[in-house]
């Protein structure tokens, strides 16, 4: 195949530069929201502050902590609350899975106001403290 003329090469380079520039404009437009204050849609970054007092109340020996929530399992809200709590508490492990023996300390993570004492009782948990903003510490009655 014959080598392209200088004009063709220059046209190719110009096309690349112009399309890349245009693409950058599109990129800025497409990412306006995710580069702004509303980027953290699941509020994961806020969870550390929300659970700060609760984490301070946990004994240092509590490496594994249970988890209960009012959020319906299998839905985005439930996953986000659970994942947010896990991330905030790590390197402590927060788990909603059944364990034998069950963890002594259990985090309550609530998306709306409810009777946290009754909620705990139904699951064999005793309220230790309600830290507000949906953050609750329970103790497992089995211990």
């Amino acid at each position: 195949m014959k080598a392209p003329s200088l004009n063709r090469i220059l046209a190719a380079c110009a096309a690349a530069v112009l399309l890349a520039l245009w693409s950058m404009v599109n990129f800025y437009g497409a990412t306006a929201q995710v580069a702004g204050p509303g980027a953290d849609v699941y509020k994961i970054g806020d969870q550390a502050a929300r659970f700060e007092d609760l984490m301070a109340a946990l004994p240092l020996t509590a490496a594994v902590v249970g988890y209960v929530s009012d959020a319906p399992p299998g839905q985005i809200l439930g996953y986000a609350l659970y994942g947010g709590a896990q991330y905030a508490f790590a390197p402590r492990m927060v788990t909603d899975r059944p364990m034998h023996p069950p963890p002594e300390w259990v985090v309550g993570d609530f998306s709306k106001p409810l009777d946290v004492v009754a909620f705990g009782k139904q699951r064999g948990l005793t309220l230790v403290k309600d830290f507000g903003n949906g953050a609750v510490l329970y103790r497992n009655q089995a211990h």
Binding site: M1, V17, M24, G83, P91, M93
Partner: protein, 489 residues
């Protein structure tokens, strides 16, 4: 401060190691060789740091003092090896891409630099706006990093099905972040976004420098521009997922296959060793990387044997030697440490029935095309730009790259087909899975696809520049460094 030092020491360690066994020594253009060395060094340093940290963590010895002591020891060792290697007389200059000049390259460099700076501003804005990263970042990668960086024994939580849906995922990214946190003595939230953007920078550096080394400066810059047109890549860059690091190691491996096609014995097949090492790091990054390692090894050996390319096949031991660390690490990790928690593996033979459901093929095809379209936006889609370049520049594959192109294209196609096969038998809904992951799967191979594409395109050069057919080391006549450059002029 200590975390920044630990990142820097990892990068410098990798760079010195690359300098010691330099795969691009005496290749031109010099700036591209230096950039390539930097990218490979950074990727190697981060991978090595992650592996060493994980080993120390499992042994209960990952204290900041030991981490820095190991760093200093490696810096000293690799520094000495690098110094020694530099004292050895250089091999002949490899008259590759530098032979073909293009007088407007500076203008392309200016445009690329400006667009890169503009994109960096937005990437930093995105990283600041979402320091915890996107969903998988806080649900998987950074969560596991926190476990690894936790008190002694907490590393086991990173491999516990009680804490994560994917306790069997490899740990390169999490390990590197955890190492930096542990070395710094705190879990500074800036570390994951910085790591994420570092990997993106390495990716760009790898692509631009690799294309420049094999096809000339202007082609390298054009490859960079096409990459910047890949909107989806830019969107995922600050997300702190392991897909960009994986793309880095894929690209590194493929690029080094091409570098080996330029270089040849007597300088040895060091590029192939590094390619193997990149596949090792890919395996330590994500499960897909394990498949990549296996496929690259098999395809390289099979095709070079089939094409009776003795010269190429003689490099197979080097490639396989580079793969050994990855294989050993993954055998240990997968069989002795991590639980068999992958739903795909646990579903047993019943999952294979998915291949009989025709609807699944349609859903995968639909997911593929939708996400392929979403790689870019509208007329600025990178495929359109590639097509424009192909039409205007034409195709011209140098003989020495023919077999490597076939090997690379076959390996990438098989890797991507393996992704499709996984989707075919996934226990989750195919449409959901394809929607959720296909764009990232595409991004894993996209930079490597770009590299292979640019090798096929005619090099950008002023008219009447002589084509380079083979490296001088493959001919009887061996040109020495300066004389080769002089002859090219």
């Amino acid at each position: 401060m200590l975390d920044a030092i630990s990142i820097l020491s990892a990068l410098v360690t990798g760079f010195l190691l690359v300098q010691a066994f330099d795969p691009v020594r005496m290749m031109e253009p010099r700036w591209a060789a230096l950039l390539f060395r930097g990218a490979l060094g950074a990727a190697t340093g981060m991978g090595l740091a992650s592996i060493v940290f994980f080993l120390l963590d499992v042994l209960g010895a990952a204290t900041p003092a030991i981490i820095f002591s190991v760093d200093i020891a490696m810096l000293a060792l690799f520094g000495w090896l690098s110094f020694r290697a530099r004292r050895v007389p250089p091999p002949p200059l490899v008259p590759t891409a530098a032979a073909a000049g293009f007088r407007w390259s500076w203008l392309l460099a200016l445009a690329f630099g400006a667009l890169l700076a503009i994109s960096c501003v937005r990437l930093v804005q995105m990283a600041i706006a979402l320091p915890v990263g996107d969903w998988d970042a806080w649900a998987i990668w950074n969560l596991r990093a926190k476990f690894l960086a936790g008190p002694a024994g907490a590393w086991r939580f990173a491999l516990s099905p009680l804490a994560s849906a994917h306790p069997d995922y490899p740990l390169l990214l999490s390990g590197f972040v955890a190492r930096t946190w542990r070395a710094g003595g705190n879990m500074d939230p800036i570390v994951p976004p910085v790591t994420s953007l570092l990997f993106f920078g390495i990716l760009l550096a790898f692509l631009v420098s690799a294309v420049a080394l094999v096809r000339g400066t202007a082609s390298g810059l054009l490859a960079g521009l096409v990459t910047l047109c890949t909107t989806s890549l830019l969107v995922w860059a600050p997300a702190q997922y392991a897909d960009i690091p994986l793309a880095v190691y894929y690209l590194g491996a493929i690029a080094l296959l091409f570098v080996d096609a330029v270089r040849a014995p007597p300088s040895g097949h060091w590029p192939l060793f590094w390619a193997g090492l990149c596949t090792s790091f890919a395996a330590w990054t994500k499960n897909e990387g394990i498949v990549f390692l296996a496929i690259v090894g098999i395809v390289f050996c099979a095709l070079s044997l089939w094409r009776r390319a003795g010269q190429t096949f003689s490099g197979a031991p080097w490639l396989l030697a580079g793969m050994v660390p990855g294989v050993l690490l993954m055998v240990w990790f997968k069989f002795f440490l991590a639980p068999a928690a992958d739903p795909l593996a646990r579903q047993g033979a019943s999952g294979l029935l998915g291949v009989l459901v025709l609807n699944r093929y349609a859903e995968i095809a639909s997911g593929f095309f939708t996400n392929l379209l979403n790689l870019g936006s509208g007329v600025t889609h990178p495929l359109i730009l590639l097509a424009v370049l192909a039409i205007l520049m034409g195709r011209q594959v140098e003989e020495r790259f023919r077999l490597t192109s076939i090997i690379a294209a076959t390996a990438l196609a098989l890797v991507f087909l393996s992704y499709c096969a996984v989707l075919l038998v996934t226990p989750y809904g195919v449409a959901w899975q394809a929607q959720r992951s296909f764009d990232r799967l595409l991004l894993q191979v996209w930079p490597s696809v770009l590299l292979v594409s640019f090798v096929q395109l005619r090099r950008v050069q002023d008219a009447a520049a002589p084509p380079v057919k083979t490296s001088p080391t493959r001919k009887s006549k061996v040109l020495t460094g300066r004389s080769a450059a002089a002859k090219m002029k």
